[in-house]
Symmetry: C2
Subunit: 181 residues, 2 copies
């Protein structure tokens, strides 16, 4: 039940059309809540039906026409309610850890190459986050309204840092393991 709230947040930051939202979900918000354009259009329809958002006055309702949405007061209230409500952490889901556990049973053949690939992907993501930090949060300038956003970014940086370190360590261990290479 989080996609509608992700969309409300994005629309409050800036009113947008479906495709613009999709693009923003590929960048900033999508770093921790991804969505495809099909999900977004489906959800925009629901949010509009529930009275949380509306199309901007300059709309043409035809099919191939751009249609921008803005958040209504009821939408902002719902987002505030959701933000403050207690929520249990979702159960963990990590395919890579599952694969290592499987490898402990059926062997590590072919695993190493993909671990290298993942390491490279995480390094790239980390570099991207650090670049954003340099650009948007230079040291010294720390406006109160940016504090929360910086906090979120730092979570991303620390998580990617963890994965690069852990994968490096995992590759070390794999190298020392007996078995076909």
């Amino acid at each position: 039940m989080s996609l509608p709230h992700a969309i409300l947040t994005a629309l409050l930051e800036r009113p947008s059309s479906g495709l613009e939202l999709t693009r923003r979900f590929d960048r900033s918000i999508g770093y921790f809540w991804s969505a495809t354009h099909q999900q977004i259009y489906r959800e925009l329809g629901k949010l509009e039906a529930e009275g949380y958002i509306r199309t901007l006055p300059a709309e043409q309702p035809a099919r191939g026409q751009k249609k921008s949405y803005e958040v209504l007061p009821a939408g902002r209230a719902e987002l505030a309610r959701w933000t403050a409500a207690a929520q249990d952490p979702r159960p963990q889901r990590d395919v890579l850890l599952l694969r290592l556990r499987a490898a402990a049973v059926v062997g590590t053949d072919g695993l190493e190459a993909d671990l290298h690939r993942h390491l490279e992907l995480h390094r790239r993501q980390l570099a991207e986050y650090q670049e954003i930090q340099r650009r948007d949060f230079p040291p010294g300038k720390d406006a109160p309204e940016d504090r929360l956003r910086h906090l979120v970014l730092r979570a991303g940086i620390d998580l990617e840092t963890f994965w690069t370190q852990w994968l490096t360590h995992a590759l070390d261990e794999l190298g020392e393991l007996p078995g076909p290479r």
Copy 2:
């Protein structure tokens, strides 16, 4: 497409019935791939139909009767294939980070209490992992076949450590923020 492989791994470690699997998914494997008993029964049916597992000879097929499964050679081969195959990391999904981003727009009212609760949950999980480490991986004794399992456990420990640190930091920042308290 990972639940069947999680089940194959668990069944290779030890043949089990559906409910026993459910219990094991509440503990070890479920730490990074959770599943309910409904999912597990559904998936056991599919895996049996595909010839990857079979019921142990001592079966009684009646409804309330215990039914244990073991992995067939085809199932082990499929698991080995899946383990070695390249897989892209799943896009991140984290509700808490999303909520912080929403709070940057609609305010932080009511957020603090739930962050405290999450911090406590992560501290408890971390303690549980460390207890498992003390019990199953005492320093010095590091059999090669346990290396991979220990590696997975350390990922869990490091991730929970990260969350406790990050949440502590987040609560510090929230405290310094202006606004209704």
